[in-house]
Subunit: 444 residues, 2 copies
């Protein structure tokens, strides 16, 4: 454990003696062991602890524990209680993502303002392997296969060469106490499955799994860095900033190897997902004029150019992105609930619920007010298109109610549901559907 810690410092951050490090400490075993190692080795450090207050008394006990630890080590301590719920609402992201973003933003703020060189988090090699396996299960590309980076920007992971068992043994041998962490219940559920049921089988196949994995992750990160170098140079050669928009010549994409991957490499920075980019690549062979939306940008396929523009402020406020369907979503006084169903027979639909083929959906989904010009393919109309405005006229929806009509779109910009009014044909549950998602509304 101590060996791996010193090897890490020697390889990556020999300057730790000369510049204090900001340690991110939850109070769990990993972060407390990290504090112990810094203290033992006489490395200058400070402690940062976030109290999101999401678990009431327990959160406050964690904070007290960390404050006491910092006092014993004579390390300065910083505690923050950011308002996760407001942030997650205003940025249209999940509580968990909000907590993550806020935490790292705040660490970086302290690092700069208080003269720390690095921010250290206590991830070890099992965290890294579990992350890779979770990414693999959920779908990923090369960056998701690289595990947790030992060093990135101002972040370091000095325990990454050790595994969970080594951290635990070190804690026990040194009489270290810690707080059990019960947050992130949903992510923990999946991670625990990987930890307790997948990793042991792989360890049975290879007793040195974590060491082997560290070597593999190092190779994959090198591959990723080199690919980044290659595509980064290509990107900066072909992208042109023309004032209000960024332009990409279409023949620079289509004339090259692996056009989808190249296009995704450019568009990922503008919030587009790989599955969307696949649809965009298909559209490049069709008529010009088609538009695709990401949370922040719109992409227009022009004759010879792809044109990227930022959304106006207004359009960002009038919409809500839905990254996954794990939890219900609240917006404009309405709750949208999701439920996975085994077969279509079980569904009792009605105007406040629809059933869709889950595998047809591209994420993120988007909820927004309907707009003039919105077109969809009403369920049961054999693929014919209809304007949403015509539907509302047909249904004699009055002016005030009309202002409150909302549409649910998938990541390719196709309407899934004119909410509470009519489902779209394209997402219907066909005979080959393997998974059905029920989407329903209720007042919140």
């Amino acid at each position: 454990m101590l060996d791996s810690f010193l090897t890490f410092i020697n390889q990556h951050t020999p300057d730790l003696k000369h510049q204090p490090t900001l340690l991110a400490v939850s109070g769990g075993i990993d972060s407390v062991v990290m504090v112990h190692l810094f203290h033992e080795q006489g490395l200058p450090a400070g402690i940062a602890h976030c109290n999101f207050g999401l678990r009431g008394e327990e959160s406050n006990a964690d904070e007290a524990f960390v404050r006491a630890l910092a006092a014993r080590c004579n390390f300065p301590v910083f505690v923050s209680d950011p308002d996760v719920k407001t942030f997650s609402k205003s940025h249209s992201i999940s509580t968990q993502m909000a907590a993550r973003e806020l935490r790292y933003e705040w660490f970086e703020e302290i690092r700069r303002s208080s003269g720390y060189g690095w921010i250290a988090t206590a991830h070890h090699s099992n965290d890294s392997l579990e992350t890779l396996l979770l990414n693999l299960a959920r779908g990923t590309g090369l960056p998701g296969m690289c595990g947790i980076a030992p060093v990135r920007d101002h972040l370091i992971r000095p325990l990454i060469l050790s595994n969970r068992a080594e951290v635990r043994r070190y804690a026990e041998e040194n009489g270290i106490t810690w707080r059990e962490d019960r947050s992130n219940a949903s992510d923990d559920y999946q991670r625990n499955k990987v930890r307790h049921h997948v990793v042991p089988v792989l360890t049975d196949l290879n007793p040195s799994l974590e060491t082997t994995f560290n070597a593999s992750a190092e190779r994959l990160r090198a591959a990723n860095t080199l690919l980044d170098e290659y595509l980064g140079a290509w990107k900066s050669r072909i992208m042109r900033d023309s004032g209000g928009s960024m332009n990409i010549p279409i023949d620079e994409i289509l004339g090259k190897s692996e056009p989808i991957y190249r296009l995704w490499y450019i568009l990922q920075d503008f919030g587009f997902l790989y599955s969307q980019v696949r649809a965009i690549a298909v559209a490049l062979h069709g008529k010009p004029g088609k538009q695709f939306h990401s949370p922040t940008h719109v992409l227009l396929i022009d004759r010879a150019l792809l044109i990227l523009k930022a959304h106006g402020e207004q359009s960002n406020e009038g919409q809500l992105l839905i990254e996954d369907t794990e939890t219900p979503v609240e917006w404009l006084g309405m709750t949208l609930c999701f439920e996975k169903l085994p077969s279509a027979g079980a569904l009792d639909s009605g105007p406040f619920a629809i059933a869709v083929d889950a595998n047809r959906l591209t994420f993120p989904l988007m909820l927004r007010k309907w707009r003039p010009g919105d077109i969809f393919q009403p369920f049961g109309m054999a693929g014919r298109s209809k304007k949403v405005s015509d539907l509302l006229i047909d249904r004699k929806i009055d002016r005030f109610e009309k202002d409150r009509i909302v549409v649910l779109l998938d990541g390719n910009g196709e309407i899934i549901w004119v909410v509470g009014q009519r489902a779209d044909e394209r997402f219907r549950v066909g005979e080959t559907a393997q998974e059905i998602l029920k989407i329903s509304i209720g007042a919140s």
Copy 2:
């Protein structure tokens, strides 16, 4: 199933109607379903079956089954009974690797000589996912994370978009019969662990795992292709053929990003492993003159150049490479056995067995006759070096016995054991050893 099959053809091989395909058929469910699909769709084909005769009567019953299947479909049938054991011995590789190589070589031979366009194997998406997970457990780089390629050279995998359950359902619905395959017992053991214990947990996290995985594998293959394009261009710019050797300017490696990966990219074609390349990269910073061996080549670190030369014929015959320690190894009338042990205490050593720190070993190991000039660090001599020739003189080994003395080396060219005489200090089981390998000899 049929849908995925037609999608595959449409995407990758629209010419299947016009040129016959050679189907690799073991008689197992996957390959029989593939034959059925080709026959049903009226696609021209022939069948190739290898009878290695490794399982006696069962192998012959498989052959009879495949011949009858071909007759029913009116497909030409080719059967081969290659001598795996001789091939594996003469090429110093395991029976399983020999079987694999011989099979593909023979398929390619028939393809060219009998006018087939493609060779088709019946791998499906679960095979691909299992392969990735096995590679991950054993240690791998980007190529090992790409799953099984849908198309490579003249090979196609037309079932790769379907999963195991779909293949089985198709077989049952169409009243197809097949032979249960019991070969590859050791690989099957590991694969079955992944199949029955890892994949179900991941499927529980994501019910559309195979579809998701196909998309991830496609992305990773695109990344791999692009990286290959980048490094391939770089390699052909810097490598110089100077008659009997290939030269690489050292500053073209050290002056670049990710030097280990770049060096491995060049040296992998000459039989060097990633772990060896790591040691070579370290040696680049040391004194010139060091040599490294792969099964086929020797690499010399000169002042400003890396110089690669093929081994002479003779040196190839006088050595045996050991890729893993799963099975005993026979060579020159001697058997080398391997056993993993929990702790050093249990080992009763003596001259015919040694215990080494398994994690110190770099593969492939090599067995060869000792040579004048061989140097090692005798066990217990605190790191001092000694010539093997001096050891043999000290021990009064007579001339005839001397000719039969063999050394075991690890992949970095370091002597592990002067076999039957003296172990090396560098591989001793230290206090931090996590895994111990016992290596012993007996007459075969």
